[in-house]
Structure formats: C-alpha cells, structure tokens
Symmetry: C2
Subunit: 344 residues, 2 copies
C-alpha cells in the first residue's frame, strides 16, 4: 500500500510563559491512507480546516502545574477542533466522503477515534470553514454562554471583551438580536471599526487607548452592566466588577489575557459580587452540545439572510499554523483564526 | 414630659483601614419617652440586644469610595440589627410591649420608622438574643446562602470559612443535617475545638497554623470541594479555587478578611472557575426574608430538641459595644457577638 506525505505540526515540549513558534515544529512524516485491518471505532480523516483557539494554550502547559488533564503530549502533533473529510471509516455512523467537525490533529491526515468527531456536517451551502467558527465550537460557546449562562433579558446592558474574536463577534450580534444594548472592547482601531460597523455593537472601546477602563465603562454604561461576557480576565474583569448592576451575570468563557502569565493578575474587586448579588459562572462548551440542532435551526437562517455575519482570518497552509495560533494571543488576528490545510 | 438618659454609640467619622475604638464615642444624651404628637409610621423602641456584624465595617467607609449607599452618618449613632421592645407605636402593625427585631440604632432608646422593623417576635421560649443570631439575620443568611444559593446535595463536600462565626456555625450544622461532609476553618485552637466538638464539623482547620492552606484543603478534600461557603475572601478564596470540584458552587456571603484593607488582596486563580464550571454567586440576606416563616418552622424544633446549637459571645452593656464590634474583625469573638443593652 502506497504511503503519502503527511505534514504535521509537532508540539515540542511543555511551555511556560508566552509560547514561541519554535515550540512547534513542522515535520514531513508519511502515512498509509488505509485503516489497519480490524480497526474498529476509528476513522481516517483528511483534515481541511483547523481552528486556532485560546484554550489550546492551556493544553501546552505541564499538566503537573496546570488544571487541565488533557495536556498535549510532547513530540506528538498538536490537536484541536477542525473540519475534516472521512476517507475511510471503521465506525458505523460515518462513511467515506462524510464531512465532519470535531477534535483532530494538526496534520494533513489523521487516524482518530470516531468518538472525537462531534457532528456530521449536513449543510454545505455555507462556507465549510464556518464549522470551525460560527457553526462550530465558538458558535456554540457564544450561544450557550450568552443565552444559557447569561440569561439575557430584552433591554439588558451587555459588555463583551475580545469582542471581535471568534466568540465575541457572535455574542455581540446575539445580544443585539435579543434587544440588548451592547458595547465591546478590542485592541485596535480596525477591530473597533468592525465592532461598530460590521457586528452592530452600539459602542466600542479600544482598550489599548483607554488610560482608565473603569472611566470608559462608566461613560458607556452610566447605569451599569447587566451581563459581562468574560473572555479576557485580569484587569478588565477588575474594572468591570466596579460597574456591574444589581443581579448582574458574568459568564466566564475565557481569560486569554492571563494564559501566558506565569502568575495571573490578582482580581481585587470581587467583594462587589456580594452586595450586587452577581452570579459569575464558568462554563465549558461541551455542556451545551446537546443544543446543537436547536442552535443550527436558529443560526442558519440568520446566516443565509445576512442577519448574522462572521469574520474569519484565514491562514493558508498547515505550515502557517504555528504563527496563526500564536497570533491570537497577541491579538494579531481579525476575527476567527482558521488554518486551511486543504479546501476539499 | 420627663426626659430619661439615653446612652448612645456615636459614629465619629468615616474610617479607612482598621477601625479603632476611638472611631466611636459613648455619649449620654437624653430622650423623651413619648412619640411626638402626630407621629405616623414610627415606633419608640427600647433596645435590648444589638448585633455585631461584619457588613457594618462597609457602612463605616466614605460612601464616595465605597459601593455601599447606606453608609453611616458621621456624628450620628451607629446602627444595625437588634432586638427591641416597642414602648409606643405610631404604626398599626405594632403595639406597646411587642418584641421585634430589625434595624435599630446603637442607643438605649430609639425612634425609628416602623419599616425598619423586620419581624415581630412570636416565640419567646428560646433566648431573646437568638433573634440577633440564629433566629435573625445571620440565621437567614446561613439558610438562604447554603440552601438557596449553594443548592446542596446529600454527600456534597462542603468547606466553610469563619466557621465558628455567627453564620458559619449554622452553615456547618445545616450541612451535616443535609448529609454533607463538612470541614470548617477558624483562627484558634478553641474555635477548632468548637467546630469539631460542638457544631459537628467532620474536620477543622486552624488557618493560623497552616503554612499552606492549599495543602491543608487537599488533605481534607482529596476529591475536592462541592460547596465553598465564603465568609473571608482573599488568600483563602484563592486556595479554595485550586480545590473546587466540577460544577461546584461558591455562595459569597462576605469577605471579612478584606474589609479593613485599603487595597483588597488580588485573587489569582479565577480561571479555575471556567473549566470546572463553577458558579460563584453573591447574595444578600434581604433577598431571602420572604422565607422567614418557613425557616422558623425548620429551625425552632431543631433548637428545642438540641439538634442545632448556637454559641454566642455576649458583651454586657452598650459601652462595651465598640470593643465588641471591633473584636469580630480580629477574630476575638467566639461565636455570635452580641451586645446586651438591657434584658427586658
């Protein structure tokens, strides 16, 4: 059986502090495009689109010093969400030619347990790459986090950090659709323009140009914030806590500003949670995947009618993956960062 | 109309940092024990028992720098929860001789709006002082915070800080009654003994003798904590966050370790809330007073049968009030700190 080249992004070793491109190595390995005889419950995938997500930083840390048990294995390929095509299936639910999204490896071809596939892709009139974003994990994150954890009401004042990112851009649009007043923060003029002109945020803050985030929040939320959709943590959270309204909610989606710090910034204003009866609640998207069919029913018509838009930042080629992934930690990306391995 | 002496504890001026006895002044004023003609909706009270509670520290701060709008007025009496006898009533719901508990002033006699009375005292076979504690605000705080916010399940692992305090000693006993495993922390050998031998905590930690609270928690909770009933904040919260279990709950009752700090300690481990899907929720007892009748039905039989006990630290005389109040911030009190103004 002929072997083919299988380019891979190898995770070199555990990272502390800010990861570097040299923490990942591009390797040309080979693979036989055939499942070994008797392979049950595994699938052979051709990976098409790979997703760059903040949580991946946590998987790079030494699990001995981290709270994430699913850390990457040094000298093995990086892994993450992706869109793939099934080349061969050892599992009854999948067959050759199926398009799927789920957890795969950062390489051209992967043999993975079928259980790593989350959903078969049924709708292909929208860009396939959307299944790494608006129709994939980040979309479900925004949906579960905003609607289920945030419990929004019409007229609520909503603040979103990392507001043009893979999740944030959707939270802002969901909030507008729900009749909320929405302000987002991001780290460049270009992103702030996107927030206001593309995603429909009522107001936008360039946090890099604000000397005093507390003052900026008071300017935009004179009556306070009902829902803070938390993507960044640290100083931003501390400023937000001073501006929450009674009975506010803080869905904790991520704390990207903290992931590369050896010692996280201290949050000093937690006592505000008490008198204002605020619910601050961590959540993980996997707890909401059972809502995926309902989510698609909600979002696909909005996409088709142009009522919800999605901005992607596309890196062409697996070899661009490491730089693309690192870029999301410095805010280099504009919108959802995707790596294209192949288009079909 | 004859005037009588009315001893008062006057709040001198806004406090920053740790309050001192000299921030409060004992004054002998006078009062006419008769409501002015045409006084509607006010009552004349003889104060019997006054309650020393941590939240009072927040009312001492300058409201310009604080988030509590009900700050004390300099040169006026201190105020707080208390048990009083109605001497004269301008309100139809109360009459002379009624025993009541609610918000009153730190003085022998007070004329206050009847709306400051929370409940008429119907059961006097238990100590009257209990209505500043187990049958008053702290009791309802423990009840609402543990059962309504903490949503305990049988078998849950529960950790309580300030565990022998007015609220903590009840949370521990409620948790045991509910079939939970309960560990408390307190700051002296005497308190630790109380926790284990009087309140029925499974284990107790003397936090002043632990070099490493994280290690102590891991020792007592090898499988992690389901509910952390938060009374202290700061470093304790940070250590607890490392030891929470999946889907844990953290009812935020108070953060007494922080109230006298000009700059609160930074909490660095909040990211643990995310992956573990933890709900950290501030609450205020007033949101649970509608459950008071149900609460009495639950707790009175337990008190009468000796199945729930309550330890009080009694200061005799209003002039002992300032020292008693300050004592709760240095952990001087053993159990609920009460000031006796008069016994009937």
């Amino acid at each position: 059986m002929a072997q083919v080249k299988n380019k891979q992004v190898i995770f070199k070793d555990y990272v502390s502090g800010f990861p570097k491109e040299s923490d990942m190595i591009i390797v040309d390995s080979t693979i036989t495009l055939k499942l070994p005889q008797g392979s049950n419950d595994v699938v052979l995938l051709k990976n098409l689109y790979l997703s760059c997500d903040p949580y991946m930083r946590n998987l790079m840390g030494n699990p001995e010093h981290s709270f994430n048990p699913r850390a990457y294995t040094p000298q093995s390929p990086l892994a993450g969400y992706g869109v793939s095509k099934v080349l061969e299936s050892g599992h009854k639910d999948y067959k050759e030619g199926d398009l799927v999204w789920g957890f795969t490896n950062w390489e051209e071809y992967s043999i993975v347990p079928a259980a790593q596939i989350l959903f078969k892709i049924e709708h292909t009139d929208v860009p396939l790459s959307y299944y790494t974003g608006i129709l994939g994990m980040p979309g479900m994150t925004a949906y579960g986090g905003f609607f289920e954890v945030g419990t929004p009401k019409k007229g609520d004042n909503v603040f979103v950090s990392a507001a043009s990112g893979a999740v944030g851009q959707l939270v802002g649009q969901f909030a507008k659709l729900h009749g909320c007043y929405v302000v987002g923060s991001a780290g460049s003029k270009e992103k702030v323009d996107l927030l206001k002109n593309k995603f429909g945020y009522d107001e936008a803050i360039n946090y890099k140009e604000e000397q005093d985030l507390d003052a900026a929040l008071k300017r935009h939320f004179p009556e306070g914030i009902d829902i803070y959709f938390e993507n960044v943590g640290g100083k931003t959270l501390d400023a937000v806590l001073l501006n929450m309204k009674l009975n506010g909610r803080i869905p904790l989606c991520g704390m990207i500003s903290q992931y590369n710090l050896t010692q996280h910034e201290g949050v000093t204003n937690l006592a505000h949670l008490i008198y204002k009866r605020i619910r601050m609640q961590g959540f993980v998207v996997v707890d909401y995947y059972h809502l995926y069919a309902k989510f698609l029913e909600f979002i696909l018509p909005h996409i088709r009618e142009g009522k919800i838009v999605y901005v992607e930042d596309i890196a062409e080629g697996l070899e661009k993956g490491p730089a693309a992934l690192l870029g999301i930690f410095s805010g280099h990306n504009i919108g959802k960062q995707v790596v294209v391995v192949a288009r079909d």
